[in-house]
Amino acid sequence: MKLKQLSVFVENKKGRLCDVAGILSENDINIRSLSLADTEKYGILRMLVNDTDKAYRILKERNYVCQETDVLALEVADRPGGLYEVLKMLDENGINVEYMYAFVEKRKENAIMIFKVDILEKALEIAKSNKITLVSDKILENI
């Protein structure tokens, strides 16, 4: 299924990431996974948190520009070739991965990877028909 990712615009300046983390911490938001895409001037902080709507609201109150983005979480076999198989499947079906990152926790022998793809619904179908386990938003809840 689809997961809601929170994307935040942060300038590439000292203290900005720390500020975001601080705001989340004050409000008891747990960051479950994150990746940072950066350029010389700014970055996009992409996070999966335990309460996306709340995090969105409080960051917005503090003048951050945020966006909720649909992403896909898939189980990927944690062995050589595991990621390749999934990417190949997406590629063969004409799905373009915009970016991806790993979820911190493992599930048995599988790693969990987060994908942002161009055609999400199609990717979901392909994953199902290829017997790839889709990870639900339960993983975002606090342990």
Binding site: F9, R16, T39, K41, Y42, I44, V65, Q67, E98
Partner: protein
């Protein structure tokens, strides 16, 4: 060499008498032929007959750049279009451009004052002049061209840009004179150094630099790097183009061709005329121009005037090199840019809010204009490539209107300082 000793060495009384007779004639002409001026004068209750002595000029209303744009395209013309032989326009970036029309006599006048300017730099008919000012609607290229023709020197009309070609022509033809913007001259110097070209071997004698403000420090740098004498030339499209004033080889203020361009200095706040020597805004009246004569044009340039006999022998009144602006206009690589225009362009772009800041800097030898735009939810995306495309799209829009390359950077919301009412829009880091 003094091109026109009769005019340039005229004694004070003769000059004043000449100016007054031109002025009276001018006011009659514009009152009869230009509705724009007639309406303005009627509104202020001034008639041509009220101009009896030179100081009566202060009774006349000022003309501003926006006045001139309001009557685009033909509202300032004092002669029928059949008598106009050439048109030029200001960079046209502040909405509508200012249009100036030249009669045959106006082109002769322009050639004359440019010949005087070039002669101040010692240019003679034996010289080659590499003219790297842009040719086109911009007046820089054609002004230098006409002056060079008048003197009979050899013009190389290479126009602006194309640095490789500029260097090749410099190396192969060894011109004695170069004309371009001061910042471009330093860019040329830089490029020449990279190509291993030695300016000592080219032997340019003099450079005529203008179209943007520069400083004594920059002059020293240019003279050292290009091994020439650097002179400051002043002019503006609204008046005639380059040639309103120029430095002589004494490099001690710019001689104004005051028999054609009558200068005043005013307090930019009150409009009051200030005595000689006091710093204020330069106001110019074109005493003899026929096509698009201008009465008391507010240049927004800050300077002061001084009447003293120059060591060069000229007696014409002198102005100090530009000391600033009385408005927020920026000159970026010779192009006039107003923050309000940038705002207008930004606000036409879907999703952009009026929170922006302009940062001007000089990197190497070129002016860089950075436009910071605050991020908002409409512009935001979770993908870097989309944000980069947004920046590029804004840069393209700005280029389309301003004709200068900018660097757009998206910044966090509320990161641009707000103050009561007026935000600080411009940070000029150039040390000029």
């Amino acid at each position: 060499m003094i091109w026109n000793p009769q005019a340039e060495k005229m004694n004070r009384d003769e000059m004043a008498a000449l100016q007054l007779s031109h002025l009276k004639n001018l006011i009659k002409r514009v009152y009869d032929n230009v509705k724009f001026y007639r309406d303005k004068m009627d509104k202020d209750g001034v008639k041509p007959d009220d101009i009896q002595k030179l100081s009566d000029i202060s009774k006349l209303p000022f003309t501003t750049k926006s006045d001139m744009r309001d009557v685009y395209p033909y509202g300032l013309f004092a002669v029928p279009i059949k008598d106009i032989v050439e048109l030029h326009m200001s960079s046209g970036t502040t909405g509508k451009p200012v249009v100036v029309g030249y009669t045959r006599n106006d082109l002769d006048l322009w050639s004359e004052v440019m010949a005087r300017a070039l002669s101040m730099g010692g240019v003679t008919k034996d010289d080659l002049v590499q003219n790297a000012y842009g040719y086109g609607l911009f007046t820089g290229g054609m002004g230098v061209h006409y002056g060079t023709n008048k003197i009979g020197a050899t013009i190389i009309p290479i126009s602006g840009g194309n640095t490789k070609k500029q260097l090749q022509v410099l190396t192969d033809f060894k011109p004695q004179v170069i004309a371009c913007t001061p910042s471009y001259s330093l860019y040329l110097a830089e490029s020449a150094r990279e190509e291993g070209i030695d300016f000592d071997k080219i032997g340019i004698r003099v450079g005529i630099f203008g179209a943007e403000p520069w400083s004594e420090g920059m002059r020293r740098e240019i003279e050292e790097k290009l091994k020439l004498k650097a002179l400051d030339i002043y002019g503006l499209t609204e008046i005639i183009g380059p040639g309103v004033a120029c430095e002589c080889e004494e490099q001690n203020m710019l001689h104004i061709s005051e028999d054609h361009f009558y200068p005043e200095i005013i307090n930019p706040e009150t409009g009051e005329v200030l005595p000689e020597g006091e710093k204020g805004e330069l106001v110019i009246t074109t005493l003899t121009k026929e096509g698009t004569p201008v009465i008391r044009y507010r240049t927004r340039d800050i300077t002061y005037l001084k009447r003293e006999k120059c060591a060069c022998g000229r007696t014409t009144i002198k102005m100090h090199r530009l000391m600033g602006r009385s408005d927020d206009m920026l000159i970026i690589r010779g192009v006039n840019v107003f923050p309000s225009q940038i705002e207008e362009i930004l606000l036409r772009i879907e999703g952009v809010e009026p929170h922006y800041q302009l940062i001007v800097d000089r990197q190497g030898q070129l002016d860089i204009l950075e436009v910071q735009v605050e991020m908002n939810e409409k512009l935001f995306s979770d993908e870097i490539k989309n944000l980069a495309n947004t920046e590029k799209m804004i840069e393209k829009e700005l280029y389309g209107m301003l004709n200068i390359h900018t660097k757009v950077n998206l910044v966090e919301p509320k990161s641009i300082p707000r103050s009561e009412g007026k935000a600080k829009r411009i940070i000029d880091k150039r040390l000029i």
